[in-house]
Symmetry: C2
Subunit: 122 residues, 2 copies
DNA sequence: CATACATATGAATGATTGTTCATATATTCA
DNA sequence: TGAATATATGAACAATCATTCATATGTATG
């Protein structure tokens, strides 16, 4: 299948900026890579999930404790834990009736801290 | 105003896990801080905005060039640049008719790179 | 086996959001 | 001043999403 470039609104900057645009284009990561990256940040882009991740970075916890900690329903937490698990951010361990969740990736806290540095720079 | 803790679904783990939950609670950042953090990541959680930021990290660019680069309409780009500006991620500079946008924060690329490290670890 | 409990899940709903379309604003140039 | 160009913006629409509610699944316990 031939990849055809759709004719876009093209302003007169073209002649002047074409080189820069082409340079930038050549340096951009793959479309798919950037899509995946956006998907990851989408997971971080909800304060309930941020709180869960922050909590799990402190200690492994079961679902009902997270719900209690965050003052939310068990169901809401359970749904969000599923999202976090699908994003490979948390793992779980079953002990009888109780399911304990914990953080998988050590980058998470680093990403959060860098984000915090930005928000503090206002 | 008195802060009243809403009665939540509370499981029998309470007795056993109460100490851990209270410890975690004491270590959690302010509600508002985590909300702001989530808002920041929400901005990163869209592939159009990710692409714009990635592009601007390479070079200052005008609106129509970004639109051309990303094969999108000027209007769509303009709307997203507004979101990025409100999040204090980009600044702009006017030169006649043309408005050039550039990146404000050097953390951005670092945050992206850490995010990429996570996505690569699947 | 029946009951209680911890968690998961599907459907429904209200809210948010990204893009498009039409149009407004601002600037240059003839 | 009028036409052309670059950008911004408001309304509308479709799509996505977080929470709730009801209920299902799985496990221990009496």
């Amino acid at each position: 299948m031939v990849e055809e470039r759709q004719e876009m609104d093209r302003c007169d900057c073209e002649v002047i900026h074409e080189d820069i645009v082409n340079l930038v284009r050549s340096k951009m990561p793959l479309e798919e890579t950037l899509y995946d990256l956006a998907e990851l940040f989408k997971v971080f882009g909800d304060s309930t999930r941020i709180k869960i991740l922050w909590a799990l970075d402190e200690a492994e916890m079961c679902v009902c404790d997270i719900a209690w900690l965050l003052n939310m329903t068990q169901s809401a937490i359970s749904h969000q834990l599923r999202v976090l698990k699908q994003a490979n951010l948390v793992r779980n361990r079953k002990e009888g009736k109780i399911v304990f969740y914990s953080l998988i990736d050590e980058h998470v806290k680093q990403i959060f801290n860098q984000g915090l540095e930005h928000t503090r720079e206002l």
